[in-house]
Amino acid sequence: MDDLVAGAQRACDAAMQAGAHFADVSAYRGTSLSVTLENGAIKSSDAHESCGVSVRAFYGGGQGWYHGDGIDMEAAAEAGQVAAALARQADPDPDFVSLPEPADYEEVEGLFDAAVAGLSIGRLIEHSLANVDAALSVESDAIVAGGAGAGSYETALVNSLGVVAAGSGSSVSCFSRVAIRRGDEVGMFYDFDYGRRLDDFDPQGLGARAAEEAAKFLGARDIETKDLPVVFGPLASRGALMSIASNANAESVQRNRSFMVGKLGEQVASEIVTLVDDPLIPGGMASRGYDGEGTARRRLTLVENGVLQTYLHDSYTAGKAGVKSTGHSTRGGIAPSNVNPVLGDKTADEIIKEVHEGLYINAGGVHPNSVTGDFSSSIDFAFKIENGELAYPVKKGAMGGNIIELLKGIDAISSDCREEPGSIMPTVRCRRARIAGGA
């Protein structure tokens, strides 16, 4: 990692020597292995390694960026010079104040596991094939696809005010997708597991679960077009709730192209919704003690009892707004970290049992328009709820509404949930959405 820090520092110094007013540099190196399965067998096994440097230079607030592969001193110096030259040609931006100053960062545990970095392709293949066999033992003619991957990386971040941050990370994942054909009908579903640490990784049972669920999706029927309560299962609720977090983007709000303009201190979800953004969760997939620009990160409450508490800032938007950066820079953009809801007090089963007629979404996204907040989403994996039971799978359909109206209509969040490193995924019920069906 020392060579990454040295290369990043060289690039930063070169940018400043070439006349930049500010500069930051990110250097990285990574390796990964993966196996891809199709129709129950191995399609390919792959190995990757790469390294690179990214320089961002500022001149009068205008930015010049350069991305290259070389992390040696000569390549780094050239990268810095090119970025500075581009910055000098960019239009100035008087709203730019400064890059972050050095700060103390929280140490976050569990971001790198040598056991994950050392996983062999053979081990990944074993996991994947075990899941194929498990799926086939549930349904012997299932079409099983899937894969597994593991990787590790080192990064260094340096800026012209003295920020120097370096670290390493690892990740491992496995997934199974099962399809069962009966004539022209297909039942299909998937399952997955992932983590940064081997202790958080449990690929056993994915294949069997995916096959069991896939079978339930046979016999799908068209539904009528009507307004219905919608229950988002653990794989679907995250997307709906995250759309508030990803759209609480201060840049989009300041630029007046977001449905979240004017929503600070306003109700953006029902009173039972509290969302916490926590970048310090040990082993969390989006965890790190500092953001993309080197601002120290901390846990914050994004939505409390349905009311938006803050926008997500980087140093630029914070400078414009006269506030402190919330540590959400991706260095060029803004994104939330690990965003999780506070759980409720009824189980998922209890929540479903209370629904006389509705829709249960097993998986699929909501995708609101970032300017208007309106969404129009395809129903990909869902069941019709009738008399408190999941009655039959839905053949096709779509769901329309406005994301804030949908979330204001949340009337239950489950006490039980699916957990992945950094994420808790409960079942969430919304009073109403407009459902379009094929019947």
Binding site: N39, G68, D93, G400
Partner: protein, 468 residues
């Protein structure tokens, strides 16, 4: 560079592989973004890397690196071999590759103005003008304006153990503008861009009246448009969404790797009527200057024109060297890779519905209540399930046989086998989109484009927010 690719290939042959290819990709790009009157972000980048594929005793391995020293190239090859040996743990059908006449070629895509020779300030002027015309048009309703420009020059050298060695350089350019308009606390955005397999002349030749004015007018129109209805309706698809529609509703299922993997809903249907007789679909990588075009694919096979559906009958699939061998047909140059670190995968290029015989009026007049959808923005497909989704940027209600009030952005969804049979009219117009997009598959993005006439589908689910 070529010597390095040849050296890796030769080393692979010495190690007794069944097949191997070495693909070096070298690329340089420039881009810039402008927002609210300032082009304050300029970016350049270069990258180089190699991807090595090996087929050993019927099993595939792949490795990539962005270091091209001999030492690292050798390690990369050995990595690919180690991966192939590991893949041997379970191979259902041994991998094979079509035996083709080895080709040697060195080509550069057409351009008039090399973007590498154009100064940054001239590119900034393009972006400034695109934004300025749009801002003037939207007037007092302006909330935010953005504009961008980008160009890339990518050289790919692929050498394989069949003896092929193809050196292909491609130049691509794009530019666009977005306007967010506001009225009474309602915001809407319009966006237009142009791109192609072309040089700087594409960007400098953009008529701001077409692109900037259109982006602004779309935003203004959407401010007053109603939300789309929810339900099952007859739908007329404008050419600007037909490309995405056929890409998602058919194209991915006709990629032969999906068929072989039993991932395709049209598996086993070659030669059968799978669509209305009015449907004719081709995938054509030879369309001059189109964003999705190329001369050779990432395996060094010449691209071409692939007839997928003719009068509703499934005629063929898009192939790689392996899928062609497995299906006993000639390869048709559809294996593409995003970069050195990705192996080639069967992809589309420019996917087109051929024009028919009707007029737009004839398509519309039969509809009592339905929608016309325009401005395809994105889509996706669950291939094995046979279900696809497309998102339209805007449209019109159709009432009593006439185009009526404008509607806002909305998603439509359908099942593939039903939709293809439910196409009941195709117009005689044809529009090849002057702006392609990026298709995602197997974790890789790829340049694609589409085009077609107006197409009417007798019923599709439209996921609007309003009752009719």
């Amino acid at each position: 560079m070529k010597e390095l690719a040849e050296w890796v290939r030769d080393e692979a042959m010495k190690r007794g592989v069944q097949f191997a290819d070495a693909r070096i990709v070298e690329s340089a790009h420039t881009s810039m973004s402008r927002q609210d009157g300032k082009t304050d972000r300029l970016s350049q980048g270069t990258s180089v890397g190699i991807g090595v594929r090996v087929l050993l005793e019927g099993a595939w391995g792949f490795a990539s690196t962005n270091s091209l020293t001999r030492e690292d190239l050798r390690k990369c090859l050995e990595g690919a071999m180690e991966m192939a040996k590991a893949s041997g743990a379970r191979v259902a059908e041994p991998g094979v590759v079509a035996e083709v006449e080895p080709l040697t070629a060195e080509v550069v895509s057409d351009f008039t103005i090399d973007p590498r020779e154009v100064g940054v300030d001239r590119k900034m002027e393009v972006v400034r003008q695109l934004e300025s015309v749009a801002v003037d048009r939207v007037g007092p309703h302006l909330a935010n304006s953005t504009a961008h420009y980008g160009d890339s020059v990518t050289r790919v050298i692929v050498c394989n153990t069949l003896g092929a060695c193809v050196d292909q350089t491609q130049v691509r350019t794009s530019a666009g503008v977005g306007i967010t308009a506001i009225k009474d606390d309602v915001r809407q955005r319009g966006y237009e861009h142009r791109n192609g397999l072309a040089g700087f002349e594409l960007a400098e030749g953009i008529d701001p009246e077409e692109v900037s004015v259109k982006a602004a007018d779309t935003a203004l129109m959407l401010l007053d448009a109603r939300r789309a209805p929810a339900g099952n309706f007859p739908v007329v698809l404008h050419p600007s969404i037909v490309g995405i529609f056929i890409h998602e509703a058919l194209g991915h299922n006709a990629e032969a790797d999906h068929v072989i993997a039993k991932d395709s809903i049209i598996e086993g249907k070659l030669g059968r009527q799978i669509a209305s007789q009015l449907i004719n679909v081709i995938d054509d990588s030879t369309i001059e200057g189109s964003w999705g075009s190329y001369e050779y694919d990432s395996e060094g096979t010449p691209g071409g024109r692939c007839v997928i559906i003719e009068n509703g009958v499934l005629k063929g699939f898009m192939h790689s060297l392996e899928t062609a061998a497995k299906m006993g047909v000639a390869p048709n140059g559809s294996a593409r890779a995003q970069g050195a670190s990705s192996p080639p995968v069967v992809r589309m290029s420019n996917t087109i519905v051929s024009p028919g015989e009707s007029t737009l009026d004839e398509l519309v007049k039969d509809i009592d209540l339905g929608v016309l959808l325009e401005g395809g923005q994105w889509g996706y497909v669950l291939c094995v399930k046979g279900q696809y989704t497309c998102h339209a940027g805007w449209g019109r209600m159709i009432r009593n046989g006439e185009l009526a009030e404008p509607i806002r952005d909305v998603t439509m969804s359908g099942t593939i086998l039903d939709t293809l049979k439910n196409v009941d009219a195709v117009s005689k117009d044809f529009e090849m989109l002057p702006k392609g997009g990026m298709c995602g598959k197997a974790g890789q993005g790829m340049y694609v484009n589409g085009g077609g006439p107006y197409v009417r589908v007798s019923e599709l689910v439209v996921g609007g927010q309003e009752q009719v």
